[in-house]
Symmetry: C3
Subunit: 316 residues, 3 copies
């Protein structure tokens, strides 16, 4: 018989593919587990055997330093055996199909896949052809649920709860899997979500998202308890979606004047930062900025999700 | 004094460079050791300390996902400390010679080299300049002995023994180290080896190989107890050796009609598969297909070979 | 209370950035610790828990096989959790700044950075923005202190002490961080340093270095107790700094005739070697050549430095 404590910690999902699959209770199960890891310590001096005897494959079909290191650190600190491969190093270049690669590595004996892929839906597709658990580490412009969860954890640590809080996502919402992942989680926890973006970088269907559309950075600062500021990709300008970085910075960039006008305003950014474009250097390093804390929380969130997925294996 | 059991398990070779060095007894020593690992379990939950305190260098001078992951997984599950490097990441591009790289890494204190190299004979050359044990993970068009051994293990598990069995290798035999490795092992175990290939993809000296030349896929299916189907490299067409993939598929591709005409026919393929070219998707996923089992067996075979090589260290 | 033995082993530096920061006592602390590791054994069979619970990041922003493997082996044999990333695999290509990458990885919870970077001073810059310990694994043409220390260890093992010994550095001193690192350490230990190089490959300020300038390879052989021979980069010729490799070899290359004229002459080279250019193949493989021993000593030196840096953490 499970104790009450264990029962509340049950994670009723085989995979973590999207923020939209998570109920309020799921989100709080993950964040409270992450907070437990942080309390106990998440450095290499604190090893947990929760994934001992499990093999985790980190499969990044799209480049990333931060997320890959964060996931692999998290897996190792849980005691997993971690295999790592990147697309360019793989034989995918020889025309091997994604599903064939999946089946082959599965046949070597693995348990959890951490997958980043440039195509939206690729991770869910993979999960349909495997008996393993899948953790979406970012698929195209679709989802990046652990990034959303680490944003939520960071805000929960600060605000205590998110009901009724106003959080504005600023920047290239159209192309951002971070925006999609975080916005859904915020709404599930009862927060009000705002968007601030040039019209060319807003999703066409934003009116269905039940969000508050802010028109200027000043209005966003006034409305919001916290800003989640997205990275501006320089490629957007080459694509004609932005006139210039200077103009973007002038109308949408967060500057010290905004922090001065609202000293309690929370600043978050998934990194890497373009200083002087979407956010000024001083803002990113101000006491209101939780950017470094987001990174630390990322390791804890990934540990929490992997631990919960692994407990479901053992329950079967 | 060694017990009878231990004596039969002695592997009288310092290296595994080629299938042709293996006697019937050697092959059975390796496959029975691999079967023992499979019985005991080869997932991360089953760790063996047979290579504890040994350093294994995985040196792939030619790209590969499957084989590299399989070898490194095998080494780690035996408790080895695994170093990994690939040629493009190495200073070989600065003009450093292969033997210099070998000597340098040897001087850091390693025990077993796993080497893939695009030049036939490169691994044997390296073994002449080192005190370490070498395991050939594929050298040019020459040999890939653990691939041959995993094919043999898969067939032994299915047939019990190979004496008198008819196994046909289908496809680009000329350029295939897999074909060379498997054919030799099959003949050592008393199987009859058949070849089916377009004339441009047959070795010029095939008449010395003591093989049965099949002329059509229908004849091969009729003759064989099992088909070992090779991957068709698209580069062969650019080289003028094949008129078109469509024509290849028509005359040499294995289709469901063949399985229907011979329901006991065993299907094997070293991967990655070109579906619809050398083998139809349904054939690759039929119950007669042992392709996934070959991959699992690959981990066990590599564990077995490394364990046997390491026991020879300790015996000295 | 510390025992005398422990006190003499205190390493009074948070980082190892440059050979010039090391006193005579510091150098001997490091080399004696390295000799202890060698006596106890530095293969994978000999694991030390001195970095257990510590995370070491190996960050090579410039390619290298030898040094990267050597550092990572050393860290693992001390029981560290080793993260590895290379610049090309990182998101630095997306315009992420060096300091941002540093801060992000620091926030994941690391202790020691091993950094190679193509810009002189980059490692010191990083150390100013982090609470971690930094070990310079080569920065531009500036410093490569563990290479210098392994050269010193190799000479100390051979000569017992270096006071009054004559050591000549031969080759491309202008562009060599090895020359800078080793020369400083030699002088700190009381050795006389000689330089032999074409005028185009001598540092412009060599007269401030308090060195003996040798004019010919014959004069250098006659003067020296040991030669530290540098690799000639083929790019130097394209840059017009060298007329031809043949001419370089004729006037500066070390040949068997030199060893025959002075049988006790010590030969060292940091590798990789251009045989027939700066050193003949037979010289590199003669009994006077300590090139392989340098590599083995490199692992021991890196273990010693990391162990000493880690002890300083615990002391705080």
């Amino acid at each position: 018989m499970l104790s009450l404590n264990s029962m509340t910690n049950i994670f009723p999902h085989k995979h973590l593919l999207s923020s939209s699959q998570l109920s309020r209770s799921d989100i709080l199960t993950i964040t409270s587990r992450a907070n437990e890891f942080i309390s106990n310590g998440i450095s290499a001096a604190h090893r947990y055997d929760l994934l001992r005897g499990k093999t985790v494959v980190s499969a990044f079909f799209e480049g990333s330093t931060r997320t890959k290191l964060s996931f692999e650190l998290a897996a190792r600190r849980l005691g997993a055996d971690v295999l790592s491969f990147t697309a360019s190093a793989s034989s995918l270049s020889k025309g091997e199909s994604l599903i064939d690669t999946l089946n082959t590595i599965d046949a070597m004996g693995v348990d959890i896949w951490l997958v980043r892929h440039s195509h939206s839906g690729a991770v869910e597709l993979m999960s349909n052809f495997s008996h393993c658990a899948f953790l979406n580490a970012g698929d195209g412009q679709h989802q990046h649920p652990t990034q959303g969860l680490l944003d939520i954890l960071t805000m929960l640590q600060h605000f205590g709860e998110l009901d009724g809080k106003n959080i504005c996502i600023v920047g290239d919402i159209l192309h951002s899997r971070v925006a999609r992942s975080t916005a859904t989680l915020l709404q599930t926890l009862g927060a009000n979500v705002g968007f601030l973006a040039p019209g060319t970088l807003l999703p066409h269907d934003y009116s269905h998202w039940n969000i508050t559309l802010l028109k200027t950075i000043d209005a966003a600062v006034e409305w919001a308890d916290g800003l989640n500021i997205l990275r501006i990709q320089r490629e957007r300008m080459e694509g004609g979606l932005l006139p210039s970085l200077e103009e973007y910075s002038q109308f949408y960039g967060v500057k010290m004047i905004h922090l001065q006008s609202k000293p309690n305003l929370l600043i978050m950014h998934p990194g890497p930062v373009n200083y002087g474009v979407e956010i000024d250097h001083d803002v990113a390093h101000a006491t209101q900025s939780l950017i470094q804390k987001q990174v630390t929380n990322g390791v804890a969130i990934r540990m929490a999700v992997m631990a919960l997925l692994a407990e479901n294996f053992d329950r079967k």
